[in-house]
Symmetry: C2
């Protein structure tokens, strides 16, 4: 069969990895795909670097439109990133009848509906396995392997930077700022780590998973996104004593009221496999009605793990060339005319369990008052930890784990607790998921 | 689009689960697949039971050939099991131009080459996601998601019965026979558990995984298959003290000498995620050159988890109706003309680490003699555990963990050690994998 000709937009880390793996494993790949897949053009503003990386084996240009408009290019790989120029180029490639492979979660989380609609109308494929959890094939699993199931929820550790930082904080007992510096020195965090540590990157990925799990449009604007910057070591320690580990969890859950779509630090029972996913590794746990719980684990970032996903998409597309577009796997797993508008719930309406830590005066009756407030708010207590005041101190910590409750009840109870004279400062509230 | 009409051969546990899930999730499934998928005929010898299970919603016959020869049936699901009549029926269905979905690992491990060749010639698909690790989509992952990679090895806990028994032995400190009875009472082991506890079932599955990971023919006859019936509690305890857990591991590994294909009890470091897969759960760890390590976890058996895989295959086939056969994913992941005849190594040629336990007279110099024998055989020692003799006893246990070595060197060393007058009885040898 005729080789597939691919144009690459942006040869940074992942682009270079894709080029390397396609070349190194060319034989293994064509043994599987039945044809060669070749990057014949690369566009990058840094032409000199691109020439060095590709070693004269393909044409290098500094103008992406030369690739997008090239009649011999079958598939365009977009690895520029961001939601600006990348959007224009992807839409233009689609308009020109090119299939697109992208690792760009921000682009799809913000403009996915527009992009997939354009692709659908033009009969081309926009593949994005590399956009969520790097080398873990979670997009294919959700779209193609769990198709018999009604998916109930997806919970993932899908940002390696924050998982690395949380592992370091726990292992070494260090605070967030120290762990972040370490992660930056080791290359696990970028110079501007905002999108990672504020949970935005995980939010983009969770938005895409929610869409393909439940058949709803891409709606990043309605996701609750909370990072790990305010997380304190003391809470990691208390959680550990109570049998929990704190992870930045991305959750997409179907409930009778609507869809929960949220990213935040979360206590998870230590005995769960996913609680033991450490360092920069990623994992996604999926609960579905027929298959039950399944979990997918691997590297969520890096040149070659991400390249693995990009190339799998190239091969998938090369196989679907001759399939009628309406027989292909739909971009968002569900047929475009079968999407639903199930609402995404505001945080006040979500239901979960909570870890509450309050610093209190060591006086008789404080605990009784706090528990009465919780009972009044219909919040039942699952476990409690009261520390002895350290060496004659007159203040101490109370930690309470609640059973399932609606967030607005907890908000109200916290306001009342914080108003007590015997409670010092703010109540720390971290959500807790049993993941059963 | 026109509904897909499916005929089901054998409505036992998995067949009933498939019928139930297809019906319960009919709407969710057609939202994804773009058409309905209906079981319109069921063949089972127990017609009364089949009628009761299907509640008058499809035609029930007691003769499978009525389905196989029916002009309106698009896909045949084979859930009869075994390699006898199932083989005849599957080949006949293929000859009639039907696509086939099967969960029958024994059939494919023994007759896969013949069946896939027939399907290839006829231009039909034989899908078998349900044959390996139940609801875990490991076949699709190996065939479609890791296509960019040179797969180095696959190591799986792919038999729930034995993993349940091993978990019970460790948790409760009970012996194999007691744990087996418990598993039978709880329905985790069949009345005749031979194929599970002797490792045959895991061997069938490992054979299929090796084939699609490396592009080699299906060769169950060359697999080394060893069960857990001889495993003693004492070794589970010693392994634990040394930081390892014992699992029945199915291993398919590419080495410069050839392919290792083996199922046997294996020590795995407790800190590895896969070592913590307990009870009847399954997990498969894959090491590949670009993506690194990825792991897939879930239920490996049961009505609905297996049905989840069967139905995913039905939907995949329904999408590929219009694709040219040579654009489909090849049955064994690699194009039929790109398979290799890489040899499967005899056990004497494999390389791994070893746990050796010997019962010795508590005399000066025994350890020195044993370690000299190991050194003479080029076996280097990684760790050692010597128990104090229990209360005045004159005999004790020595446990040695070796570094990587070839099995034939260990065979030779064990023969020499067992010949020593100070060594009582046989040396217990369990293989050990670091899984790094």
């Amino acid at each position: 069969m005729k080789p597939i000709k691919v144009g690459l937009l942006g040869i940074g880390t992942v682009g270079a990895g894709t080029f390397t793996v396609l070349k190194r494993n060319a034989e293994e790949i064509s043994r599987r795909a039945g044809r060669r897949i070749e990057i014949t053009m690369v566009a990058d503003l840094d032409v000199a670097r691109a020439l060095a990386l590709t070693d004269g084996e393909c044409e290098v240009v500094n103008d992406a439109s030369l690739i997008i408009n090239h009649p011999e290019i079958d598939i365009v790989i977009e690895l520029i990133g961001g939601a600006g120029i990348a959007r224009t180029l992807v839409l233009q490639a689609i308009a020109n009848g090119k299939h697109v492979v992208t690792a760009n979660k921000a682009l799809l989380a913000l403009h996915g509906n527009e992009i997939f609609k354009a692709a659908q109308e033009k009969g081309v494929i926009v593949a994005f396995e590399a956009a969520v959890a790097g080398g873990i094939p979670i997009i294919k699993v959700l779209r193609e392997s769990l198709t018999a199931n009604r998916i109930e929820w997806v919970a993932g550790i899908i940002n390696g930077t924050t998982n690395f930082i949380l592992s370091e904080m726990r292992d070494k007992g260090i605070d967030f700022t120290t762990a972040l510096s370490g992660a930056m020195q080791l290359g696990y965090a970028e110079a501007d780590p905002t999108v990672d540590i504020e949970g935005i990157d995980a939010g983009h990925k969770a938005t895409l998973m929610a869409s393909i799990a439940f058949g709803i449009p891409v709606q990043f604007g309605k996701a609750h996104v909370e990072g790990i910057t305010k997380l304190q070591s003391v809470d990691i320690g208390y959680a550990e004593q109570l049998g929990y580990r704190i992870k930045l969890l991305a959750i997409a859950k179907r409930t009778p009221l609507g869809i929960e779509l949220r990213v935040h630090p979360t206590l998870i029972p230590t005995r769960r496999l996913i609680a033991n996913v450490e360092g920069a590794m990623n994992a996604v746990l999926v609960q579905a009605d027929a298959v039950g719980a399944t979990m997918y684990y691997g590297k969520g970032a890096g040149a070659e793990p991400t390249a693995s996903a990009v190339i799998a998409d190239l091969i998938d597309i090369s196989r679907l060339f001759t399939a009628q577009p309406d027989h292909r796997v739909p971009h968002l797993a569900f047929q475009p005319d079968a999407m639903t508008d199930t609402p995404i719930l505001p945080m006040a309406e979500i239901t979960t369990s909570y870890y509450l830590r309050m610093h209190v005066a060591d006086q008789l009756g404080v605990l009784a008052t706090v528990t009465r407030i919780l009972a009044d708010s219909d919040i039942s207590i699952d476990a409690m930890l009261q520390k002895e005041p350290a060496g004659g101190a007159s203040e101490t910590d109370i930690i309470i784990l609640t059973h399932l409750t609606q967030e607005k009840c907890v908000d109200a109870a916290i306001a009342r607790i914080e108003a007590l004279a015997t409670v010092i400062g703010k109540v720390t509230r971290i959500r807790l998921e049993e993941l059963e």
